[in-house]
Point group: C2
């Protein structure tokens, strides 16, 4: 059953014209991460590689392609967690960085802290030699168009937000049984400056524990925080629920208790995995035993050989 | 059994010359919060009032009296959570504010977000009419002395940090059964600029749920985050553990799994409460049925009539 990696590209409603790009993006990311695992790489290397690919891909709301805040700027959140030590690294409201997930990993590996925010995160990036890039290189035509649209009188940013929540993330178990998660996002469309959502918040945006498994979440960030969704799902697994049942229980509770929709990718130490969501869609892909699995709508589950290029 | 409020002034080692001030500070805060509850006020009003008092008190590491970061600046984190709706509000790395806990409450009540960080949090404060104050008014002689001491060659900021971790917090249940928590801190001595610890992280620095209870935490921040200590304790309570047993189980797990020490104040919906810690000391006070309870060392539990001025 090991190794395994499961990737998501966000829960919400993927516009039809973007669905193919979204699907091929997560499939490529899952393939790249799986190649690392097959080569004996760690689950941390695998999830970070998957997320880097999605941050670089302008289709997703993370890195290049991030949504813009109320001022038209890009502020990004990211989190990694190592299930062996329970160490985590996060950045919140960071700017001018191509790959926030790499910076989050550096916070975990090179500091005694678990999260650096805003200007302090950028200073750390500079100290680590991570290049600062022009904000323009993170902004796509599409994200600027959506931002402008939401400034118009009568616009409904909340409704628009539901249309594309492409936070990205991955969970993996490597051949040695080490488990990791990674999540990265541009956050919420037209958010206030300095808004920090679930992604960089340990237990909400993600959690990994070699004894239990790992979860990476996406969806209505503030609702995810209210129920600490990632940790909640792992508590259900600790009580004997399967990855599917635990994921569904967590998402159903979030919907009934606080009215929030979202999605998750989940693994357990044995390599069982799930990609579940309460939103209309979530684009996801998984790689295990040389097979690539992927889907977008509820109930969709396509498979192909890992070597076939889709 | 209702109403009840439990307050802490930080886990760690309280220097002897500061122990009396610490004890009288948490007792005053518990009395003020209890008066609100007895007057029919909400648990949210009560926990915020308790924390405001401790933020204003220079003895504690929150608001005035906050420890200084590596650059000699004050950056503060705070969190409130409403157990009825699971709504929360937080600020992280905020500057120039007398009472971060009030700003955290405004984030919860006046925005659609759950956390604002750094400059964005200060912009929000300005928009809300919260006055900006000079940084000097948050810095005590004591905190500056400790900062300078830790810049000296051969200094050990980590060891020094263990000496005073005066994060403050409170949990309460009001007469209507509504449960709230609040936590506020200056963070970790000589921390990097932009470091965000457990305090503003929902599920780590605190959690409140009318169905389960509430916890506010203090201690080794990064260890608290690794185990999402507040949420972990509430899961133990959900499985039938008492407030004491659940608190001890959470703290023991944190110690054995990740080597971290800390303390918590915990309540359940019936009004059972606990103040437990794995550190050498935690200054705490509780008010219930017109009795004030307080202590500092393990096993200490003094009581007096709520009306007696200590």
């Amino acid at each position: 059953m090991l190794p395994v990696v499961v990737v998501h590209g966000g829960a919400g409603i993927v516009p039809r014209e973007r669905s193919e790009k979204s699907t091929s993006g997560v499939c490529s990311a899952a393939r790249a991460a799986y190649a690392i695992l097959q080569g004996g790489g760690s689950s941390m290397d695998a999830v970070v590689e998957a997320v880097i690919q999605l941050e670089k891909n302008p289709t997703f709301n993370a890195g290049c392609g991030s949504v813009l805040n109320a001022k038209g700027d890009v502020e990004m959140d990211a989190l990694v967690m190592d299930g062996k030590t329970l160490s985590s690294g996060a950045v919140s409201a960071v700017r001018y960085i191509a790959n926030p997930i790499q910076l989050a990993r550096l916070v975990m590996e090179e500091t005694s802290h678990a999260c650096l925010t805003a200007e302090g995160a950028n200073q750390f990036a500079q100290a680590m030699g991570v290049p600062e890039i022009p904000q323009e290189s993170l902004i796509t035509e599409y994200s600027r168009m959506r931002w402008i649209k939401n400034l118009a009188p009568g616009a409904n940013p909340v409704e628009s937000q539901m249309g594309k929540m492409g936070t990205v993330g991955a969970v993996a178990v490597d051949s040695e049984g080490n488990i990791s998660c990674a999540t990265s996002t541009g956050g919420m469309l037209n958010k206030m400056e300095g808004r920090v959502g679930d992604t960089s918040c340990i237990g909400s945006g993600g959690y990994a524990d070699n004894n239990l498994g790992a979860v990476s979440t996406t969806g209505a960030g503030e609702a995810i925080m209210k129920v600490t969704l990632a940790r909640l799902i792992l508590f259900h697994m600790e009580r004997g629920q399967s990855v599917e049942a635990a994921s569904d229980l967590g998402l159903a509770y979030m919907k009934s208790r606080v009215g929030g929709l979202g999605g998750v990718v989940t693994v357990d130490p044995q390599g069982h995995w799930a990609a579940r969501f309460s939103s209309l869609q979530m684009v996801w892909a998984a790689a295990q035993k040389d097979t690539l699995h992927y889907g977008l709508y509820t109930g969709e589950h396509f498979t192909q050989s890992i070597d076939d290029q889709h």
